[in-house]
């Protein structure tokens, strides 16, 4: 399966199934709320959906502006860095995408990210450390990876994943509080409710499962972006060399937070802090291996 077309469709299929399971999880937790907590439980569901939708979709719609502020990125013009604009322009021609806004983050750690609600509002940003530590081919690979996120609408995909995970987390959280503070009321009414300890287990596990699924979606989108980048440049060696530079480097981005971690080309968080199941990125060695396989494939 070492060609980019197969890798692209495999990752798209996996994203679809992961999002489907997240949808199932929402129905599951909503069912628990309605079946076990009576009328007050049922009213929690639309409330959680509304809160999650408003908070996530607000930040999705203004993602290009919000992220600029959170990461302290500065939008630059063509005259500020003609070579970088050349590289972005090349990838635009290869992908047929419109020219995005380009930004620089003043940070010695090499990293890059893409955001924006659609290709017409796309923004891609690079740290100064990345621009200084890579040659032309490597930079082209990174630019192609970021433009691949734009082409694959990954801001939208991660907003959908964040919304569903948010709904599950909110419902579980509110129900847990109800159990703690007012749970007794339901038992007075009688009815066929589960014993409390049985209701607690899914309330604890569901948000964890939702977080893991959200991370899995993010990992699949990273693999997909690598494959799409190769579809643009037909040069897996460039991106592979770039990832090797990132793997060798131990510095981490200063203005970092887990809120924007999933956007970067390499996770800005410490690898040891997150276990594999919660990681937003596939292990970098695995990505390098996949690109190496594409390099030896004559179809590329």
């Amino acid at each position: 399966m070492a060609n980019f077309r197969a890798l692209q469709s495999a990752n798209r299929r996996k994203t679809f199934f992961l999002l489907f399971f997240m949808g199932v999880l929402v129905w599951f937790i909503a069912y628990i709320a309605i079946a076990n907590f009576g009328g007050s439980g049922a009213s929690v569901v639309p409330l959680a959906v509304l809160i999650s939708l408003v908070s996530v979709w607000g930040s999705y719609y203004a993602s290009d502006k919000l992220v600029l502020r959170m990461t302290r990125a500065q939008v630059i013009q063509e005259s500020d860095n003609p070579k970088l604009f050349n590289l972005v322009n090349e990838v635009c021609i290869a992908s047929g995408l419109p020219m995005p806004k380009v930004a620089i983050v003043n940070d010695p750690a090499p990293n890059a990210f893409a955001t924006g609600r659609d290709p017409n509002h796309a923004l891609i940003a690079f740290t100064t450390g990345l621009l200084e530590s890579m040659d032309r081919d490597e930079l082209q690979g990174v630019v192609a990876h970021e433009m691949a996120h734009v082409a694959n609408r990954d801001t939208l995909v991660s907003a959908v994943a964040a919304t569903t995970a948010g709904i599950v987390a909110l419902i579980s959280d509110i129900l847990m509080r109800m159990l703690w503070f007012g749970g007794g009321r339901n038992r007075d009414h009688g009815g066929n409710q589960m014993p409390i300890f049985l209701a607690i287990i899914p309330l604890i596990l569901a948000p964890i499962a939702a977080t893991m699924l959200k991370a899995a979606v993010s990992r699949k989108r990273e693999s997909l972006a690598d494959a799409t980048a190769v579809a643009f440049t037909r040069n897996p060696a460039g991106l592979r060399a770039a990832l090797e530079v990132l793997a060798r480097d131990n510095t981490v981005v200063q203005a970092r937070s887990s809120a924007v971690a999933h956007m970067y080309i390499e996770s800005p968080l410490d690898a040891s802090a997150a276990s594999r199941l919660f990681a937003t990125h596939p292990p970098i060695q695995e990505r390098i291996e996949n690109l190496r396989k594409m390099e030896s494939n004559p179809l590329v």
Partner: protein
């Protein structure tokens, strides 16, 4: 519900379906045209860059007449080509001639260090990439169109939309197709 109403609904649904397929074919065909004009834009860019390059190389390596001549000839051939295979062939010849000239330039440290040449270097690298990416994008659009022309259901509407399979843009030099990245 009487039968005539059912027939009207069925016909209406079919018309909507036919319009969707027809539009898809026309859209794909327009995309191929757009992608081809992108190739022409990039070829023009490269042709405009060459006189400057030739002058710069002449200043330091005037006796490399053969390599210089090849580039100048290939450039003039590429500006007169009009059909797609002719444009592609001239494009491939110019790519090869440029590569030859830059290989010759390697032997002249003064030339390589000159500010003019250094400026041209990034310009040439990006132009060469843009040319090959626009070829590749064109071939991708042809691939989508030709697939639609040959597969059901769009293939049924090929005659109606007056759209047919299009030619790929093939450059003679196989390495030019596979490796768009040129190092100078």
């Amino acid at each position: 519900m009487d039968a005539s109403l059912l027939i009207i609904i069925a016909v209406a649904l079919f018309v909507v379906y036919a319009i969707i397929q027809y539009n898809r074919l026309v859209r794909l065909n327009v995309q191929v045209d757009e992608a081809f004009s992108q190739i022409e834009v990039q070829l023009k860019r490269r042709a405009d860059l060459i006189p400057n390059l030739v002058e710069t190389v002449k200043g330091y390596a005037s006796h490399e007449r053969e390599a210089l001549e090849k580039v100048v000839q290939a450039r003039s051939a590429s500006t007169t080509a009009s059909t797609l295979p002719a444009i592609a062939a001239a494009d491939g010849a110019l790519t090869n001639a440029l590569r030859g000239l830059l290989a010759v330039a390697e032997a002249y440290p003064d030339l390589k260090a000159s500010s003019n040449f250094l400026q041209l270097q990034e310009e040439l690298a990006t132009t060469e990439n843009k040319v090959s990416f626009s070829r590749q994008f064109y071939n991708e659009t042809v691939r989508s169109l030709n697939t639609a022309v040959k597969t059901i259901p769009t293939s049924f509407f090929v005659g109606l939309a007056k759209v047919g399979a299009r030619e790929f843009y093939e450059v003679d030099d196989p390495s030019a197709r596979n490796v768009p990245n040129v190092k100078f």
